[in-house]
């Protein structure tokens, strides 16, 4: 599980015509900056989220001169933040003249803000870190992200939260890339505590996932589960974070042998993940296939044929096939029960020696082994059979008409429950923009009420007149 399962937080946006040359990229960055400025003044968090999405689209096109031009624009040249961030960028000498040209139209359009907004400063940090990671300069990315985290602790503004959660992610990611995740565990825990105190739910969500990832990276399932069960849970703010959480939960449950729960989490994670997050979905599917095999289920063929996953899931497909045909030599410890179930379906009566041979039990006393294994399977309810010790037989019970049992009802119920759950989640996921008509409506209603009141007054007055 050391493979990169970074899930890009790109939502399936209607793709804006992507900028082709540097000038327009800079223009886009400035647009992002203006979103952030506006958000900072109006306290609208959603605009910052929009700026972040815009940035992710531009990510691959960032270059050093471009960034330094943007830094000059967004941060006051000569200020402390500016100096600190520029230090991470390679020096541009030839680019200077070009940069000046770039600056020309901007100064005419908009004068830079007099004081630096914290949001904007953090945004610049995010850009620089993205750039450094993409340039594979991980040590600098580490230094830069650590500096940004230190800076973040000073701001307690809700509008910073969205940017902060992205920074946490890249902070952990840069440490993961250099292979020293264990170093930052204490720091992440401290950040999680701060986020909890500030009611920064998105930050808590992100940090909880990072911590789980951190623990699982070192196989510390015990700690991960303890943290997970104690950390406060609330309704998910970000779909991506929720997917990750489900995936980690599924992994923990698998190790704890709670396969039913694990399967549910993993399948849900695979389904909820955005289509672009291919690596993540492959991981989810791999784990889900294993868990389903352990449960004695045979995953459908279609799972292995999903676009872009055929190759990655190939070994899992072969494993599934081995289980399906019943080649026990390949997966002895995985699904003895499945093998036994197949035997009990195929034979109404079979000697224990044959069972031992079919299950390929290798020991000094295979018949005794087979007997105890069958006994356990009967007790666990895996097969419907009885043992004849005197003759050394396993006698399978006739499978009666399945429709006379509660089985179809239970299957039907679980499907209905699944659909209802899906529907409820879909309804819950709907988002509405703050309603601009609402105010108008209530104003109208007030007016109407007033009119009615006046009318009523008139009537009573008329009544009075009658007397």
């Amino acid at each position: 599980m050391t493979q990169d399962v970074e899930m890009k937080d790109e939502e399936a946006l209607p793709q804006a015509p992507l900028p082709s040359d540097s000038a327009s990229i800079l223009q886009h960055l400035k647009e992002g900056a203006s979103f952030i400025e506006a958000a900072s003044y109006t306290k609208e968090v959603r605009r910052i989220a929009r700026a972040v999405r815009l940035t992710i689209q531009l990510r691959r096109k960032l270059t050093a001169p471009l960034l330094s031009a943007f830094l000059d624009y967004a941060l006051l040249p000569g200020s402390e933040a500016h100096a600190r961030l520029s230090a991470y960028l390679p020096k541009v000498t030839i680019g200077m003249a070009w940069k000046l040209i770039m600056m020309m139209p901007t100064s005419a359009v908009q004068a830079p803000a007099k004081h630096i907004l914290p949001e904007l400063e953090i945004y610049c940090y995010l850009l620089v870190i993205l750039f450094l990671i993409d340039q594979k300069r991980y040590d600098e990315a580490k230094a830069c992200s650590s500096a940004s985290i230190a800076r973040l602790k000073n701001f307690n503004r809700r509008t910073v939260d969205v940017l902060a959660s992205r920074l946490y992610f890249y902070y952990s990611y840069s440490y993961e890339l250099t292979g020293n995740l264990a170093e930052i565990r204490g720091n992440l825990l401290a950040l999680h505590r701060i986020a909890t105190l500030r009611h920064d739910e998105l930050g808590q969500e992100t940090l909880l996932n990072l911590l789980l990832r951190n623990y699982l990276h070192y196989n510390l399932y015990d700690q991960a589960e303890k943290l997970r069960s104690k950390a406060p849970r609330f309704e998910a703010h970000s779909n991506q974070q929720f997917c990750r959480y489900l995936f980690y939960l599924g992994k923990i449950r698998t190790i704890q042998l709670e396969y039913t729960d694990a399967k549910e989490s993993l399948l849900q994670a695979a389904r909820k993940a955005p289509f672009a997050a291919q690596g993540f979905r492959i991981q989810c599917n791999k784990w889900a296939v294993l868990v389903r095999l352990l449960l004695g289920e045979i995953p459908e063929r279609i799972i292995f044929m999903q676009r872009g996953m055929e190759k990655a899931l190939r070994p899992y497909f072969e494993l599934t096939n081995a289980v399906r045909i019943g080649d026990l030599a390949l997966f002895r410890n995985v699904a003895e029960k499945t093998g036994l179930r197949n035997i009990s379906i195929s034979y109404s009566r079979i000697s224990l020696a044959d069972v031992a041979e079919k299950l390929r039990l290798i020991s000094t006393n295979p018949i005794a082994d087979a007997e105890s294994i069958v006994a356990k399977a009967i007790r666990d309810g895996a097969i419907e059979a009885s043992l004849d010790h005197a003759n050394g037989w396993m006698v399978s019970k006739e499978t009666g008409d399945i429709y006379s049992t509660n089985e179809p009802q239970a299957a039907f119920n679980s499907r209905i429950a699944f659909c209802l759950n899906m529907h409820n989640e879909a309804v819950r996921a709907l988002r509405f923009p703050p309603n601009p008509h609402k105010e108008k409506e209530s104003a109208e209603r007030r007016e109407r009420q007033q009119q009615e009141q006046e009318l009523a007054n008139h009537i009573t007055e008329d009544d009075d007149d009658d007397f």
Binding site: I255, E258, D369, K376
Partner: protein, 190 residues
Amino acid sequence: MDPKLTEVAQLFERFKAAFVRNDFDTCSNFLSQLKVKLTEFRSLPPLFEDTPNAIRELTLARDIYEHAVVLSVKIEDQDAFERDFFQLKSYYTDARDRLPPSPQEYPILGLNLLRLLVQNRIAEFHTELELLSSAALENPCIKHAVELEQSFMEGAYNRVLSARQTVPHETYVYFMDLLAKTVRIILSGK
């Protein structure tokens, strides 16, 4: 040498002498004194401060807790085992890079696996297993516990019962007896 460290080392020697004599009451007595004294060292978990004597203190403390675990098996106290083991565990995991490996590590980890098996805490058993390297899994003490778990899950109880003869370490006998009892209870419940 630090006088505090010398004092603890001497006390520990007396503990070991009583341990060899199988005088377990005296041992428990010494052990609680030792534990109190260990709290004064700042180089031990959870602080892990880098003091000049850190390595020597850590090694001594690890040795003490290893004896504490074995003692708890001998006086057949499972709760004490769990407490001592968890204190010991952080020496094996968090201080791994700084200390030379202990020869007792695998026997004790195997004992813990066995305890989880006896107490039927299978989820924790597998969580612990995930922490072990593939080299550790080859160790006879660990392998013993892992194979037991497999026979246990498959229902090959005859193998569980016969495994008592092949214990890799004398301390394992106590848990093997308990395990045999567990198996008999399960079988009689059928």
